[in-house]
């Protein structure tokens, strides 16, 4: 938007208009948080007991269908929640439109990349 002193406050406030978005972001952030309330304690408790037994035990842990399912769900919810949260932080602090857009895209790619890495790791264990 223009910074000219001739631009009226009403023009600044109305801006480009309300985008009619944001509610789904709000809902998704809360739903993913709810999922994480259950998944994170399970993950921490479960991974600690598995990791104590060394590499073979860890492989066996991921090899269990229940553990693998919950692990992928945990990663999905956590990285998705992280992406939504980082989006809010970027929108809060980065004012320049171009920089903000670039960071928002990178944020999505980064979260998606982490999730795919977890899925691929689980597949690798399962494929032997």
């Amino acid at each position: 938007m223009s910074n000219s002193p001739f631009v009226t406050p009403a023009k600044t406030t109305r801006g480009l208009g309300a985008s009619k978005t944001g509610t789904s972001h709000h809902i998704r952030q809360r739903v993913s948080a709810l999922a994480l309330i259950v998944l994170v304690p399970w993950f921490l408790f479960s991974i600690m007991s598995a990791a104590l037994g060394g590499y073979a035990d860890a492989l066996a842990w991921v090899g269990s269908p229940l553990n693998a399912t919950l692990l992928v769900l945990t990663a999905g919810a956590a990285f998705y929640h992280m992406r939504l949260g980082m989006q809010a932080v970027i929108e809060d602090y980065i004012g320049k439109t171009g920089t903000r857009a670039a960071l928002l895209i990178l944020n999505t790619f980064f979260a998606a990349g982490l999730f795919v890495a977890v899925v691929m790791s689980v597949i690798r264990v399962w494929a032997g």
Binding site: P9, A10, T12, T13, A18, T23, A88, E91, Y93
Partner: protein
């Protein structure tokens, strides 16, 4: 990038120390933000010594004492001097509030600093530019909107529905809440801020208003509404004891309700 430090020409420098009133026994030190557009140079902190036995009981009384007996050039807004008009909102001892209802006995010990509401352009001394703040209030269309034929006498409302407006209608638009909100500091041009959103909710929840959907349409935006991260500074500082953060949460709830 968000501006975390003041621009060079807004950095506040050490100012003048005004003489102590003669014969005073109960002195208190006040540091007050001074800025005049006619004078060249940065804003400054001036030091005043106030005779608390003669100054009255409220911070607004201190400002009057200074203006009347020490420095007549000190500029500040005031009108009702009883917490109704919201004109004398400023930052007192690090907290936004209105000077007329802030008593000495509520203040911490030591030097008391008084500055204009934060993160707004300063017109002079303790007077900030509130034009954008008022435009945000106008944006939420703070008046009854109806399409039904106007009743002969008045739009009626049940006692329960009227009670929904308690805690909302009391807002005096002093801007203490909006200017205490970090989200408003960083995105004050796009985020409507707690004061405007509290007023928006006041009309959203009014049983007589028929424009609820349109009102929600005008608010549904990542910046206009969803910049609120429930930091709660607004509720902490409101001199009328209102809770804008709760009103904003209720607007978000209405947004969710209409899509689910």
């Amino acid at each position: 990038m968000v501006q975390l430090t003041l621009p060079q020409n807004s950095k506040v420098q050490k100012g003048k120390t005004w003489p102590k009133p003669q014969g005073a026994k109960n002195l208190r030190e006040f540091r007050i933000y001074r800025y005049s557009p006619e004078e060249k140079g940065n804003p400054r902190w001036d030091t005043y010594w106030v005779d608390m036995d003669k100054a009255g009981t409220m911070i607004l009384d201190v400002l009057f004492y200074i203006k009347n007996t020490i420095d007549p050039t000190l500029a500040f807004r005031r009108s009702c001097r009883e917490g109704v008009c919201g004109s004398c909102a400023m930052n007192i001892a690090g907290r936004n509030t209105i000077a007329c209802t802030k008593g000495f006995d509520e203040l911490p010990g030591g030097v008391i600093s008084i500055s204009p509401l934060p993160h707004l352009p300063v017109i002079r001394d303790l007077i900030p530019d509130l034009t954008n703040f008022y435009a945000q209030h106008a944006y939420v269309q703070p008046f009854l909107k109806t399409d039904s034929p106007t009743p002969e006498k008045e739009w009626r409302q049940s006692e329960e529905d009227r009670a929904q407006l308690d805690g909302l209608y009391e807002c005096i638009l002093c801007a203490s809440c909006s200017t205490s909100c970090p989200s408003y500091w960083w995105n004050g041009d796009k985020y409507l801020g707690p004061a405007a959103l509290l007023q928006a909710y006041r009309w959203l929840i009014d049983s007589r208003d028929e424009a609820t959907g349109e009102r929600l349409d005008d608010l549904e935006d990542p910046f206009k509404l969803y910049r609120c991260h429930t930091i709660m500074n607004c509720a902490q500082v409101c001199p009328k004891g209102l809770n804008p953060a709760q009103a904003i949460a209720k607007i978000k709830h209405m947004m969710v309700e209409r899509v689910s």
